[in-house]
């Protein structure tokens, strides 16, 4: 009997082991977000209870544990603060969780530990929106289901012992439950009823806002944004020409000599058509929270659908308050360098600070003639692009007269300097102009079909007003694609980052931003299809479906064939073939008429023959006795084979 050889393991030991693992994983998931003092306390108590469990079998009395827990609850209530509510609750829970490990555990105590671990996971969900949550969720569900099954075994008979083999089977087969639960979870997640107005929204911690465009941009300030490598937005859309990738955000029109400001603007008249020529591009944008309320979209956004959004006359869009949470919105933009505006208040866009130096005025005068607006604009534009200026992010000329320093001393700067100087010079020439802040370029993720726009792509360009044409975009900053990561060769690290970002993108798109609207749209989509049962596919999809069906059939067919093959060509035959192969190397091939022993006798070399004999004797001993080869036999036979 083989079963007797196997080690018998007590269920309780495995259960305890799993429970401690659950405990540690729960701790690990939230450790990042809580006070290190609590982390330390947890680890200490956890390790002490582990020590007690295995060395002394000593447990702390239940009443002590309960008093301890009550004290923690009291302390939490005492120090509670609304803005850190979740963290404090999680810390208290973690402490009670740790203390739970100290006592002698009965079935219900294990249940309590598992429940607490789910609460801690919920705490993680409230503290972080990261994709790592899903990993912890899956691990926790897997671990808990196995632990629950073992706990059920334990509750039937606390002294139950199972042999290793059966125990392993129990553990593995109990994993069927979470595996089957995962697809159902997805369905449940989609259909669970949502509300439009969350009541306990305050429990959700606002995301950490990124630095971004403010209403007042001091020269050199954008460089701070440009040092940030994190992602500001992801834009789901088709790939377009890199030249057109300007993400419009804020318009700055008032210059005080050192910084640009966005003056109070009027809301655009509703349904005012955007007059521009070009192709329309639809985008689905996921914007990370940042410090301002301006909403970004591809330049010349015709409209943006987002609750509470207002469009301004200068073709920018604002939210009522700064963006504290990740936003998802749809936008349609017209790809065009120009858009028309009637009845322009030219004075606003010709404003200049006092104390513009004569040198700038002189320079402007030398470049422009004043008869043709467009020609003048290009003349100034070419001045910046003739090679005497270079792009730099370091040691920017920050002073009381930064434009002068940039134009006549440093002759280098980042986009703000180029754009500011350009706009100031245009205004000096009597051409209405303004600065537009936003982002430039982005990495296109082919896997996820979206643009990844990092903070460092923050950019400022200029719009100049030309009579009869409208606002024209000019980007005086010398082309520096590399800074925007365009056209750069993608290395492996970048590939990995893109893969990770794709996962994150879908996580945000499908999980974090799922809401009532999308739920309703799914319902509509389904009902629409129900009304029209005759599905029409174009030939391409039809072919694809046929291909899928065909490959499924092939897979099934192959599976059955394989099963038959495996049945006939069993392990015995495999070993025998290996044996023939080995001997074939020495030039001995078994004739069909030869018996195994006869064949071995024909080997001339003594040492090979003895080894072959060993194999044959062993093989025949099993094969002709109608026994099946077991693992040990196979191992031995293989060893013999190796020596031949």
């Amino acid at each position: 009997m083989k079963a007797i050889d196997l080690k018998v393991i007590k269920i309780i030991h495995v259960l305890k082991f799993l429970t401690y693992v659950v405990g540690f994983i729960s701790f690990l998931s939230i450790a990042k977000y809580i006070n290190p003092l609590f982390s330390g306390a947890f680890l200490f108590i956890f390790l002490v209870s582990l020590y007690f469990e295995y060395k002394n079998r000593f447990y702390v009395d239940r009443w002590i544990v309960n008093i301890f827990s009550l004290l923690v609850v009291g302390f939490t209530i005492y120090r509670i603060k609304t803005d850190e509510l979740v963290i404090q609750l999680v810390e208290a829970l973690l402490f009670i969780f740790a203390v739970k490990f100290l006592e002698e555990k009965k079935t219900r105590d294990y249940m309590q530990i598992y429940t607490l671990s789910i609460f801690l996971l919920a705490g993680l969900g409230l503290m972080s929106l990261d994709v790592t949550f899903s990993i912890y969720l899956i691990i926790t569900v897997m671990m808990l289901s196995t632990s629950f099954v073992l706990l059920t075994f334990y509750s039937q008979d606390p002294d139950m012992e199972l042999n290793q083999k059966i125990l392993l089977k129990v553990l593995l087969k109990s994993l069927y439950i979470p595996c089957a639960a995962i697809p159902l979870t997805v369905v449940m997640f989609i259909i669970l009823p949502r509300t439009q107005y969350p009541i306990f929204d305050f429990l959700n911690r606002p995301d950490k806002a990124k630095t971004g465009f403010t209403e007042r941009v001091r020269l050199g300030a954008i460089a701070n944004i440009q040092e940030d490598a994190s992602i500001i937005m992801r834009v789901h859309m088709d790939r377009i020409n890199d030249e057109a990738l300007y993400w419009r955000g804020i318009v700055l029109d008032y210059f005080d000599g050192t910084s640009w400001k966005s003056s109070k603007k009027q809301y655009a008249i509703q349904n005012k058509p955007l007059i521009a020529q070009g192709s329309a591009v639809k985008q689905v944008i996921y914007l990370e929270p940042y410090e301002n309320r301006y909403i970004f979209a591809l330049d010349k956004p015709a409209f943006i659908t987002l609750k509470g959004i207002k469009s301004l006359q200068d073709l920018t869009y604002v939210m009522p308050s700064s963006i504290e949470k990740r936003l998802r919105y749809e936008a349609v933009s017209i790809i065009s360098d120009v858009f028309f505006e009637k009845d322009l208040d030219k004075a606003t866009y010709l404003q200049l600070p006092e104390g513009i130096s004569d040198e700038i005025k002189k320079l402007t005068k030398s470049l422009t003639r004043g008869d043709d607006t467009l020609k003048d604009i290009y003349a100034v534009y070419n001045f910046f692009n003739n090679g005497s200026f270079r792009y730099s992010l370091k040691n920017l000329p920050i002073s009381k007269s930064p434009i002068d320093d940039f134009l006549f001393k440093a002759r280098y700067g980042n986009c703000e300097y180029f754009a500011s100087a350009f706009a100031v010079m245009l205004r000096l020439a009597g051409i209405p102009s303004r600065l537009v802040g936003g982002y430039r370029g982005g990495y296109y993720n082919d896997m996820g079909k979206y643009y990844l726009v990092p903070q460092k792509n923050a950019h400022v360009w200029v719009e100049a007003f030309v009579e009869d044409k409208g606002w024209m975009r000019f980007d005086p900053t010398p082309a520096y694609y590399e800074t925007f990561g365009l056209g750069k060769k993608r290395d492996i690290m970048m590939q990995i980052r893109l893969i990770m970002d794709t996962i994150n993108f879908y996580w945000n798109a499908f999980v974090i931003n799922y809401n009532l609207d999308r739920q309703l749209s799914i319902v509509f989509a389904i009902t629409k299809n129900i009304k029209r049962p005759q599905l029409k596919f174009n030939t391409k999809t039809l072919w694809f479906m046929k291909l899928v069906m065909f490959s499924i059939c092939i897979v099934f067919f192959a599976f059955f064939i394989l099963k038959i093959i495996l049945k006939t060509k069993n392990r015995e035959m495999y070993l025998l073939l290996q044996f023939y192969k080995r001997l074939n190397k020495y030039g001995y091939t078994k004739k069909p008429s030869q018996g195994l022993e006869e064949f071995v006798c024909s080997i001339k070399e003594d040492n090979i023959r003895t080894k072959a004999w060993e194999f044959v004797r062993h093989f025949e001993g099993i094969y002709y006795m109608d026994k099946r080869l077991d693992k040990l036999d196979i191992k031995r036979l293989k060893e013999v084979l190796r020596k031949i």
Binding site: T107, L126, L137, V149, T152, L184, M188, V511
Partner: protein
């Protein structure tokens, strides 16, 4: 539920996971009870007032899923099967005790399990029944000596069949494995070849028990005593016959004979 109010999709995700987990576990719990068959092997001879083992085999007919933590309840007694592989079976023994003789049926067999989680217990009754007869309890008594006496008075009778008892029937050639003590040395010496005696076997004079004539007032005691006597006598190779009511069992020593008599006694219902 907090999930509906916070609008936090991660809490929704946990709730969704827990709900589907509950649903799936319900399915697994239900599935655990399905595709199960039971076989109960009942010993051929069961006597009342004596514990004996029922061999219970639980068969898992499912293709993929094993059977976890299954309890089989038979006549109020539980047998526990912690794990049965798919397409396989496990055997356990249940010790049962019947105080009275007679016809019995095991029909209230149900299986139940708390799998997968110790929240609910699911039951399913198995539509199977097993009939069997419990023989009377064997009660030691003096009846046997009575019949022995009677038998001795009549004496043994040697039969024509060959055995190892008393009279020599013939002498034959030695065959390998004949016991040494049966070698007839005289004949061997005479012929120069090994010769073996062939002896006749003794047949005991049959004993006949008339149920009505046994003078024990309590019927149950009477039945038990007679059963004991018959079992004992047949064990020592003495043919026993019995008359009960209108039925007559002619004396015999065979196994079937014994069982038939015991069955009759088990089902005896008085006058």
């Amino acid at each position: 539920m907090s999930a509906i109010n916070t609008g936090n999709n991660l809490i929704y995700l946990i709730v969704a996971a827990l709900l589907s987990f509950m649903g799936i576990s319900g399915f697994f719990g239900k599935n655990n009870l399905s595709g199960i068959d039971i076989e109960i092997n009942i010993p051929q001879e069961i006597y009342a007032k004596r514990e004996f083992p029922l061999k219970i085999t639980l068969i898992n007919k499912k293709r993929i899923l094993p059977v976890f933590l299954m309890k089989v309840n038979i006549n109020g007694k539980d047998v526990f099967f912690p794990f049965i592989d798919p397409k396989s079976s496990e055997t356990r023994y249940l010790h049962v005790f019947f105080p009275k003789r007679g016809q019995y049926v095991i029909k209230d067999i149900y299986i139940y399990s708390v799998f997968p989680f110790n929240f609910f217990t699911r039951y399913r009754s198995l539509d199977k029944h097993f009939e069997f007869i419990v023989f009377p309890a064997l009660k030691e008594c003096s009846l046997i000596s009575l019949y022995e006496k009677d038998r001795r008075l009549k004496g043994d009778r040697s039969s024509d069949s060959v055995g190892y008892d008393t009279d020599i029937v013939s002498i034959r050639e030695y065959v390998y494995r004949d016991p040494l003590k049966y070698i007839n040395w005289k004949a061997t010496a005479k012929t120069g070849k090994l010769k073996t005696k062939e002896l006749s076997s003794l047949i005991y004079r049959p004993i006949f028990i008339d149920f009505n004539e046994v003078l024990i007032r309590d019927t149950e005691e009477k039945i038990s005593s007679i059963a004991y006597t018959i079992v004992k006598l047949i064990k020592s190779n003495m043919p026993v016959g019995m008359r009960i009511k209108d039925k007559v069992f002619l004396p015999d020593v065979s196994q079937t004979h014994r069982i038939n008599i015991l069955k009759e006694l088990a089902l005896y219902e008085g006058n």
